[in-house]
């Protein structure tokens, strides 16, 4: 579409007198056309992303009553609170553990699904995507019942083996375990589908060449599959790290951050501090802390994606 507009612009320009040429010039330039075509999206991003972002930076510099500018006061206050550092640590543990397991399970299951022939594969793909398609707030409610200490399916089943009852959401360790488990359950299908697509894009002949070169099953994965999927792995990991780090619904519904704040993440703690305790500036301050941490992760992971982008 852009090309047609440019063509018209050029035609008009060629025919018009010299004085009008400069305006025609600007309007006819490819970059100008491109700018106008993307303008609606740019406005949307400004309205929904940039404005709230800067507004939260502004909020973070106010006092609790939002009447006075306190500069970095909220930040220095946070640094002194032990709960804050606990939330940092928990968020990191939560995000990293969950993403590692999601990626691992996604990778392994993707291999299995990849080897299922034709029609059956579509059925399996559909079924395995279900956790990711159900709104997490709803599926987490189901998990909440499964984790119930007295009446749940888990503890009932375990009782036959003489295990338990396990306080799934009441004990610090088990509560952390449970929120990670549900997050992995919810997020692994995303990795599965991305890895499956990546696996399909690796030419079969590379594996054939490798098996003739003497590679065994593991060497093929290490020397062919992983390098060929490198970019997809980096991008999905980063994407999932961001989403998992900022997770709210699962923790909110399962534990509300308890017991003893031991499962709080940035988002849930920001919600508790900002909305429930009515200290919006401090809440904004907490959520802003995700930015530098995730920025570092993004740089680290995407460092050589560009370099390797169009190798294949």
């Amino acid at each position: 579409m852009a090309d047609i507009v440019v063509e018209q612009g050029r035609l008009v320009r060629a025919a018009s007198p010299r004085k009008r040429a400069s305006l025609q010039n600007v309007l006819g330039r490819k970059s100008t056309v491109a700018f106008f075509l993307t303008l609606p999206l740019i406005l949307l991003i400004v309205l929904l992303v940039l404005y709230p972002a800067f507004y939260s930076v502004y909020l973070a510099t106010l006092n609790k009553a939002m009447t006075k500018f306190v500069g970095l006061g909220n930040f220095t206050f946070l640094f002194k609170r032990e709960t804050f550092w606990m939330v940092v640590r928990q968020s990191c543990i939560f995000a990293i553990t969950a993403v590692v397991f999601k990626a691992l399970i996604g990778f392994i299951v993707a291999h299995f699904v990849h080897n299922i022939p034709g029609k059956k594969q579509r059925k399996w793909r559909g079924m395995l995507l279900v956790p990711w398609v159900i709104p997490p707030a709803m599926s987490t409610l189901a998990w909440l019942w499964l984790f119930d200490p007295s009446y749940s399916a888990f503890n009932y089943t375990l009782s036959f083996f003489g295990v338990g009852p396990i306080p799934w959401l009441g004990d610090t360790f088990w509560a952390r375990f449970s929120v990670i488990l549900v997050n992995v359950w919810y997020g692994a299908p995303f990795f599965l589908i991305m890895y499956l697509a990546a696996l399909k894009s690796v030419p079969d002949q590379l594996y054939e060449a490798a098996s003739i070169d003497g590679a065994n099953w593991w060497q093929k994965i290490w020397h062919i599959t992983l390098p060929m999927m490198r970019n997809i792995i980096a991008i999905t990991t980063l994407f999932s790290l961001i989403v998992t780090f900022a997770n709210f619904d699962i923790v909110r519904i399962l534990t509300s951050g308890g017991p003893l704040d031991r499962t709080h993440l940035f988002a849930t703690w920001a919600f508790q501090v900002g909305i429930q305790s009515s200290d919006i500036p401090l809440g904004a301050c907490v959520s802003l802390f995700m930015v530098p941490i995730l920025a570092v992760a993004a740089i680290f992971i995407l460092r050589d994606v560009n370099k390797r982008g169009n190798e294949a």
Binding site: L206, I212, D213, G214
Partner: protein, 366 residues
């Protein structure tokens, strides 16, 4: 270095017979080309030798050992694929040394072998590049280099030149022949291009519909084809097949092509075909180069006839002429100065000393 033997090899894909019982003996150092139209089972045969496809029945032996159940990595073979199958994330050197590194060869030895192979293929300057930075011909060389460094018992080539343009294909064909002359590794080469087959092979295996039609040196196949398929497949433009029958006229055997055209057979041919029943439907197989312009001093066995040309194709060093004999399209090759023109009448000469006679029903060359 080893010989390769196939014994009654069969390959079924869900009841579809891709390969229907192949017997083939390939001796050490030999360059064998499997050639045939698409779907004839030549690639499947190669992949079975490589171990990339299971065999349904029969035996494959490499160096005297039955390798039916040996995985590709333990067969000590190297393969060059049609689309090269270079590892895109590795440099040329890494691509070439991959197999050796997997087998934990000492570094010095790997380097020596890669350098030697790169020198042989003239790709020393490219050794640190990635495949995407290479042209088609260069990738082809790297793929060959990867095969050479392994110093395997057998080289397998799966239509390695079909992704190259015509000029490069000729160049790489010569290159492959040179490499084989230097390393002398037993080679099995698959192609659908009969020119490649003829120029490269010590022996050509012509395949059709999962069976071997004929095995022979390029000259044998060209001059003594066993079946109509081989006769028609080898040679370009293809051999003409003209319906005909034999007659006895005044004590000589004649071959009748049309109501108008009949020639006495040369004595050697007459003796050979004399026993055939006169009623049998036959095909005269004659190559275009044995259908030339008429001139005054013709050898015995060369007969002339008049026809009207449909189309002519000047090729420079020769002109191809097309005409019909009772509806059968026929192609001849005449001198460019012989005055052939579209729609013009022309007197042509047919060299019956080089004729073939085929059974119309079975396609067997008699």
């Amino acid at each position: 270095m080893a010989d390769v033997t196939l014994r009654k090899v069969v390959k079924l894909y869900d009841d579809v017979e891709a390969v229907r019982g192949i017997d083939l003996d390939i001796s050490d150092h030999e360059f064998i080309v499997l050639v045939g139209p698409s779907g004839c089972g030549k690639s499947t045969t190669l992949r079975m030798i490589a171990g990339l496809e299971d065999i349904t029945d029969g035996d494959i032996m490499i160096g005297g050992d039955v390798v039916n159940d040996v995985p590709p990595k333990d067969r000590d073979i190297a393969m060059v694929f049609q689309n090269y199958a270079l590892y895109p994330h590795m440099t040329v050197a890494e691509n070439m040394s991959f197999g050796l590194r997997l087998k934990h060869y000492p570094k010095a030895e790997i380097n020596a072998r890669v350098t030697e192979a790169a020198r042989l293929l003239d790709i020393t300057d490219l050794i640190n590049r990635k495949p995407k930075q290479l042209s088609g011909g260069q990738r082809q060389r790297v793929a060959m280099g990867r095969a050479i460094v392994r110093n395997p018992k057998v080289f397998l080539f799966d239509e390695p030149l079909s992704n190259l343009d015509a000029k490069l294909r000729v160049q790489m064909r010569i290159e492959i022949k040179k490499v084989h002359q230097k390393v002398r590794t037993t080679t099995v080469y698959v192609t659908h291009d009969q020119v490649e087959a003829m120029t490269l092979a010590d022996r050509v295996v012509v395949m059709n519909k999962g069976r071997i039609e004929q095995i022979g040196t390029p000259n044998e196949l060209y001059h003594k084809p066993a079946t109509r398929f081989v006769a028609g497949f080898i040679g370009s433009p293809a051999m003409n097949f003209i319906p005909c029958r034999l007659e006895d006229v005044a004590g000589t055997v004649q071959i009748r092509l049309t109501d108008r055209i009949a020639f006495p057979l040369p004595p050697a041919r007459a003796a050979r075909y004399n026993a055939l029943p006169r009623s049998e439907k036959l095909l005269l197989g004659i190559r275009p180069e044995h259908l030339t312009e008429w001139h005054a001093h013709l050898e015995p066995g060369v007969e002339t006839f008049d026809t009207v040309l449909d189309v002519t194709e000047p090729m420079g060093m020769e002109t191809l002429v097309y005409f019909g004999l009772d509806g059968t399209p026929v192609c001849g090759r005449v001198d460019p100065n012989a005055g052939a023109a579209d729609g013009a009448p022309m007197r042509l000469a047919m060299d019956l000393n080089n004729m073939h006679l085929l059974n119309d029903e079975t396609g067997v060359v008699l």
